[in-house]
Symmetry: D2
Subunit: 336 residues, 4 copies
């Protein structure tokens, strides 16, 4: 960590900063320039709070050199984390497509979708039961009933299931759920993250609409700090000025995260674009860029979907997409 | 609402859209252009889900004409909402400063700050007990103990108190709290919003880092739809590409919201800027632009603050600011 | 186009809007709702100015249905435009890599780089002569001398060349240049665009840092409206809150533009990421997403590059990248 | 400047960086940490190019401590710059309103507007002759003829005039123009900036839509480096995700720039909001925040304005606004 100190600083206030740093076991090396002094800090700076440092009047600016996270960092663990989802693996060279409807709507619907995506070669089923909707008047999901229907599909089709949690109060209903998803709007619901750090299940953490990659990894760190290291990161588009797409897929996030962290990273092209016709090109780009998987919305009848129909592929479109993804994936693996 | 339909649409798919709209009691008027047909919808479109409409293959685009919220809308209620906070009022011409430390740290600290801000003329005390921090290794607040200390200050100084809730599980500890704050990161924690709609206390709702004004009002609608109409909106800066300030204060949000909604709107210049030296000019601008109040962080010893010291004013700076705000406020009222 | 009109509007002001629309040969169909009236406009709305409409006090909002551009639009021309660059083609299934140094620095440098990229299989050479730099104290390019050296490389290696123009005053020096590039900062330098519309050379138009896809196509329209329809669009990253990369590559722009326009679209992963190590994954993603080409910075000695060394590949890295891109491109073509 | 170097760096590559720094007369102090080494640089770092440094493979990151501009910096010149516009002053405690139509449309129009704003107490007249429009089909201004009409108004009303230049080719026509405006889209048209640095007239430089405050000051530096130090900065809104306003007024830019630079800063609430009804509250906020002036669009008949009618005040609205601004300004000055 580097702290820039104003030169006009009086000795007292500089001393008070120095003693604060000493208490935290930092070794400090000074470089005195014309107008400012630079303090180079050596030690475990992860636990240093930048906000606290800024409160010292002598401090002009603080710059981190080391990442503010540890467990999620590749510096800390150099080999790729592989997460087990039922009998399937993701990360470290293992690629998975997670597919299913935006929301579970009925027994027929989820079974029809599950049967079809399994036939297309997909191993893992997703389905929304608790739905975060910006309007209180929109369909909010079947909730507990939705999870029951999803569990039924799990049993009948022998597919592990993924579903989104919106409140830790609902955790008991997620017993059968294999991977608990934290949605973009809850990426910094720290209370929820902490509690998920105490359970023993993979967590699929989606990036927030306006969160940096660093904040994304800090949220993963929240879960991991509690003891649960089975975290799958999911890039799903960020909010920018562009309105042609629902969000802007930050595809660079994949190679950037791969350098910073050992955790698996997947892409959700459905939410990133918000448009069914963009899902295929973005899915293929995701494979080429090196993602560990995809999460894609598909529906047996998108125009009757109770949410996000616009971005759902129908089952034929989805089947065609899986074939292309599989072939591209084979090409990528063989050309490494 | 206006739906743009592709002209190549076959009659069947257009009919299925029409029957969907009829079931929802919409009257539809068609305008047939060269390449597209425009459907003008008349009826209560608030409850129509844009996502569902997009799932019809014939639909090219959907544009709302009416706001997607009702209770929060000035069209629905034209007179300003006045919210009571203890014996004090906010909104409809009533202006309040809410002040106190980022986090409650000790009995001495909160009492010293409270005594001082009261002397400066402030009626309402704030203090953080549960703190949302991006790092799991940063100070997370005194939690329950913090609320106890805040309550003590409330009793001793006869000031209503404001504190942030991070999870509905903690609600019992908020019994003495007069205004429950929902932080920016929880603006779309819909489960939390719904539960706060069922209690009988003012809610101070902060705008999310990357949320539009429309989404902000939708979140207010979530609370109001549950029956709790005492919502105070707080603009606290949005996330942009600019890094000179922690966030970018969207000061235009005040006059924009004033036209769209009857709810009181305040500004938090501390979080908006992240820098103590910017708080005063931004506070004065907030008064001039027509805000109903301010929320400002102040600390008896900012350089020892356990969080956000960089943006906290010390008690002298704060006292000087209150004087300037009061005078400007008097000027503004007398020149209306 | 749809115009939403306030219902409280008096007849006079509505009539003045109506007569304005009639003068512009618009057929208007009204849909009267409870609070607003919707006017659906039929006619050639491309030339209607939204700003002018907003000046009528009765107008609440205006929404375009048709694109505000014509020549660049796929509605106007459904088949892909193929642009000829010397003996090479781009667009309509033709893929090209354009490579070379950020700036031309010396005869040896440009010849070494050109010889090497040609050997790697690249057909088109790029090199900066006039460099837009945010600091007046940074190296501004060799200017006219740089173009001379680039022309020499063109002759020696029989490669068409691409270089950026910063002012129409320099146009005479671009005689030998095969493709004139308009940089991101000049995307809305309308005077420059207009002049480039009058010449008979392909224009490589880069997207502005904060410009929407619609504005991007409007800038292409500026050039095309002057008679020059040889426009190549280049996505090079947009400005967002994320700081891990220099810009955020908006990879979705490729399939979005492909639907809206018939013009070729290429991607510049060097500027999009600003980091050499991200160029390869982003280049591969660009091929997979369907781009018509790539523009990549490469240098014989990146650490001595006079600009943008951080994002330049060395010649070996670049050669390896071209091989991978070629193989992926073959795969993509054979799996269409 | 601080350079972070990878510890695995071999001695050769570190040495090559060191000799580069020595050639540029930098004194370097090393702080060796566990994983990285920090180099603190002492010397005139303004002319060091961050891009060049990043090209050294040993360099992990570079952080500027000193601003990358000099002439525009308050460190370099501590007293406020006062710019003379005809007989009027701006900056250093002098406040000016610059008003007039978006574009000059006719002799009658410009004279009527000028007469009226002068009567309202405004000293400086603005009017667009060359108009940057995103559509090639929109009205592009009266160009040379517009400047003639503006000059006529200048003579008749004895008001200095401001108009926007779009290309240095048109400079001869700006002889009578007292302040040359550089529009937001040209803020990084470096060629134009350089040429304006060689003339002896005040330049009103508008902030680009997506440019940081640092880049804004760098563009001012471009002009000043040429010898022309009469630069007035104008904040006019930045591009964000929010669509309720045309742009997002970054009001914090005023106090931020006041600390970093000695140049006068004004605000353009018309372009910032794009809506006439928001101009007054934003103008008042601008006065309160400490701006040195305002630039406001006003028109004798906004609904017939040939551009930007939606954001223009009519002459009565404008007169009322000037009165409020004047009173608030008096209040602000008397309460300093």
């Amino acid at each position: 960590m580097v702290i820039v100190v104003k030169n006009q600083a009086n000795t007292d206030s500089l001393n008070s900063l120095m003693s604060y740093l000493n208490q935290r076991n930092m070794t400090v090396k000074q470089t005195v320039g014309e107008n400012r002094t630079i303090l180079g800090l050596i030690g475990d700076t992860v636990s240093l709070d930048v906000d606290e440092l800024y409160a010292f009047p002598v401090v002009e600016s603080v710059r981190r050199i080391q990442e503010p996270y540890k467990l999620a960092s590749r510096t800390f663990r150099s080999t790729d984390t592989v997460v087990d989802i039922g009998d399937y693996k993701i990360g470290g060279g293992n690629f998975q497509i997670i597919a299913g409807p935006c929301s579970v709507e009925s027994e027929e619907q989820i079974l029809e979708v599950a049967t079809s995506v399994k036939k297309s070669g997909v191993n893992i089923l997703r389905g929304g039961a608790y739905k975060p909707r910006s309007s209180p008047y929109a369909f909010q999901g079947l909730m507990g009933k939705g999870l029951e229907l999803l569990s039924e599909a799990k049993v009948q089709l022998k597919m592990p299931i993924v579903s989104e949690i919106m409140s830790i109060d609902d955790i008991d209903e997620f017993e059968d759920v294999d991977v608990i998803q934290v949605g973009a709007r809850n990426m910094q619901n720290f209370k929820l993250l902490k509690e998920l750090g105490c359970i023993n299940k993979p967590i699929l953490l989606k990036r927030g609409l306006a969160n940096t990659i660093e904040e994304f990894l800090m949220s993963a760190e929240y879960i991991m700090a509690g003891g649960n290291e089975q975290v799958i990161l999911c890039e799903r588009g960020i909010r920018t000025f562009e309105t042609a797409t629902r969000n802007t897929l930050d595809i660079s996030a994949v190679p950037v995260i791969k350098r910073l962290s050992h955790l698996p990273v997947i892409i959700d092209p459905s939410h990133a674009s918000g448009k069914a016709e963009l899902v295929e090109p973005l899915a293929l780009a995701s494979v080429a860029v090196g993602a560990d998987g995809l999460m894609i919305e598909t529906h047996n009848n998108p125009q009757c979907a109770l949410c996000d129909g616009a971005q759902s592929l129908n089952l034929e479109q989805f089947d065609s997409l899986v074939k292309k993804v599989d072939e591209l994936r084979k090409f990528v693996v063989s050309h490494k």
